[in-house]
Symmetry: C2
Subunit: 117 residues, 2 copies
């Protein structure tokens, strides 16, 4: 049986940035928490939408049509194939959902390994 | 392009209980918000895990091995096929994720229609 996940507690267990940690499995997807700060790379995922839920801080997601700005309790789905770049001036805490094995940069050669917390 | 979703704002738009509202689409899944109060029915979903994230209040999910208790910022995945019954003594606000078309009771003949907000 799965266990409950306290997102804030999970986020207290690490401090590195742009390195998603898996906290639960859902229908072949990884549910993850991550801390981000600074600018990520422009990338896209050809085979999956990209789920962002802000838990703390202010996140900008740059998109071809202009940026969206997300605060706590706000979510955004980047449709599959759409180029995007997350940017966080100050540290932001996020919950992410992607199919298990999805490279965070959209490219397996540059992606970080996602570990279970 | 999809739009950002403010979960609290979406939850302010309705007051009925046990009637999930779709706020976003993600990889063939509905992302929903719902207000619940009281006891739901025991049910299971044969083909999908069931994603619960508590946004406000205290939720009990009764399970064959005993209940789990969830507060704000806590999530729980009910594995597919596992009987469960959500119970909320006071009103609880949730974010749910299920494959599009999943009946909320596990049975299409008793399920509510999920509308877009």
């Amino acid at each position: 049986m799965s266990k409950k996940v306290n997102l804030k507690e999970k986020l207290s267990l690490f401090n590195d940035h742009w390195s998603p940690k898996i906290v639960a499995d859902f229908n072949g997807h990884d549910v993850m928490v991550v801390k981000v700060k600074g600018e990520f790379v422009w990338h896209s995922h050809e085979d999956t939408d990209d789920f962002f839920l802000v838990l703390k801080g202010q996140l900008k997601i740059e998109l071809p049509d202009g940026p969206v700005f997300l605060g706590p309790g706000e979510l955004f789905i980047v449709p599959k194939g759409v180029e995007h770049r997350p940017v966080a001036e100050e540290e932001v805490h996020l919950m992410l959902i992607e199919p298990a094995g999805t490279p965070n940069t959209g490219d397996a050669t540059t992606a970080v390994t996602k570990d279970y917390l």
